[in-house]
Amino acid sequence: MKILVCISQAPDTTSKISFIDNDTRFNDDKVQFIVNPYDEWYALVRALEIKESLGGHVSAISVGGPALETVIRKVLAIGADDAIRIDAEPSDSFGVASAIAEYAKDKGYDLILTGKETIDYNGSEVGGMLAELLGLPFVSLASKLDLSEGKVVLETAAEGGLEIVTAPLPCVISAAKGMAEARIPNMRGIMAARTKPIEVAAGNAPALVQIKKFSLPAPKSSVKLIDPENVEQLVELLHNEAKVI
């Protein structure tokens, strides 16, 4: 089993979000970057579990500059065998997907995993684009992934229940909560990660969209507190003032 896991970095979930350059760029000053949770907790860990039970090789791939080294080392510490950094500066999901597709197209991966979405752009786009560029089947938001007779068997949420989807290999799958349990790297993993190879490959990241401006939501006006002895007043306000019930 040759598995490729697509990794993105994202600002730590407690980061204060602000923008610079006339609100056109994210202010990364003092921001700590983490591995995008869906990529790390679900896609990567499930890939490692499959390797542990069936044998194989797990590579992680990420598109961006040298600053990605920290999150790449983390992924290697958790257990990926090696990693590829495509040295390009993508400005949208299509750029990321194109760079990965160009690299992956003749490498013979059996399974390519992405996280459900990144917690910065929240697009849920890279997996589907990558599958299309590689001409592979794609199943999004799988909360369970098993291999059976050369196929992947997945669970995805559906209206009122779930779909059990069977897809042939090779394919691209995006991983949602439930697919695996997050792992914390141990000392041995961290030591081993220092010497695991990171291939740096040249690449292109063409864009289809451009971010023009960021903005922050308007601050909430202060909360109206209601006496716990007078819950009916809340209902009255929701009905007559807020008009939501």
Binding site: S140, Q210, I211, K212, K220, P228, E232, I245
Partner: protein, 325 residues
């Protein structure tokens, strides 16, 4: 030229989020002086499909074929790409839900058409084609320009209220043969939820509870409150992690992002990762026994008190309101 809206059908009628997308697409079409055409995939009577006219669509193309029984991203993408070509569509709309997430990115790559996923407002056409969406899990917004000839948008449910109009839509069958769009994946459906349960991403009213509830056995009062309101239920991440509630109820930065009209948070502290998924709600009510709980800073209305006393009273008060109206 036209605007094509990919609409989903559930139980013989358009989904609510698809009606929102039809209205949104029709409003773009009228600004661009184009026709709004709906591609309806699934089984519904023509009379139901014609209702798209009430939301501004001129035409509905219906496709009802076993190849589209489940949302195989490849088969859907191939079909939609062909319909985009035959209708000369320059804008394609999806809902930002499971189907939209599976298909819109594929279509974007196939047509080299710029995609904005999870749009929250109508595009600004004053300088090009600029679409607004939430980023950083609801902590910020971005205005994104699409410059490619074909533009794709997936619309966040509950973001833009549909506008009703008087029009009628003509319904026609897909003119090509659907046989060729063979799915590469197969699928079996398993019904797991109770009937009548309200889908969380589309819900207008949501009752959500956290670790303050102490244990899964105490969710009866939450479900009862949701029941009288006609609301969906949600929960914080630790609650779904420990298995008190199903994963699909988990909202927040690493769960679902939702934008209901009313979000009632009970026994939830309001951690930044939780707020990220719910701060697009129009009205937030917080019930928490700790007056210092951070959630009060993000709330419109709040009650400081014990959920076990307040929730039953709230349910009773809402019952009273409902019976008076």
């Amino acid at each position: 030229m036209s605007v094509l809206i990919v609409a989903e059908i559930a139980k013989g009628a358009f989904r609510k989020s698809s009606l929102e997308a039809i209205s949104y697409g029709s409003r773009i079409a009228s600004k661009l002086e184009m026709n709004a055409i709906v591609l309806a995939i699934g089984t519904a009577a023509d009379a139901q499909l014609a209702l798209a006219g009430n939301y501004g669509a001129a035409k509905v193309i219906k496709v009802d074929h076993p190849n589209f029984q489940h949302p195989d991203s490849g088969a859907y993408t191939a079909l939609i790409a062909d319909v985009v070509a035959s209708t000369q569509s320059s804008v394609v709309l999806f809902t930002h839900d499971n189907l939209g997430k599976a298909v819109a990115p594929r279509l974007s790559a196939r047509l080299r058409a710029g995609l904005v996923s999870g749009a929250t407002a109508l595009p600004d056409l004053s300088e090009g084609f600029v679409v607004q969406k939430n980023v950083y899990s609801g902590k910020a917004m971005a205005a994104i320009a699409i410059t490619t000839p074909v533009k794709i948008i997936s619309l966040m449910p509950n973001s833009v209220s549909p506008v009703l109009s008087q029009g009628t839509a003509e319904v026609e069958a897909f003119s090509g043969s659907a046989d060729g769009y063979k799915p590469q994946t197969s699928s079996r459906y398993e019904h797991t939820e109770r009937d009548g349960e309200i889908s969380l991403p589309e819900a207008e009213l949501v009752v959500s509870a956290g670790r303050g509830l102490k244990g899964p056995e105490n969710w009866g009062m939450i479900e009862e409150l949701a029941g009288v309101l006609g609301a969906a239920t949600a929960c914080s991440r630790p609650v779904s992690d420990i298995g008190w509630r199903p994963h699909h109820e988990h909202v927040g930065q690493t769960g679902l992002a939702i934008r209901p009209n009313l979000y009632i948070a009970i026994g939830i502290s309001g951690a930044i990762q939780h707020l990220a998924g719910v701060n697009g709600s129009k009205v937030i009510v917080v019930i928490n026994k700790d007056p210092e709980a951070p959630f009060f800073k993000a709330a419109d209305y709040g009650i400081v008190g014990d959920a076990f006393e307040i929730v039953p009273k709230l349910t009773a008060a809402i019952k009273k309101l409902k019976s008076a109206n």
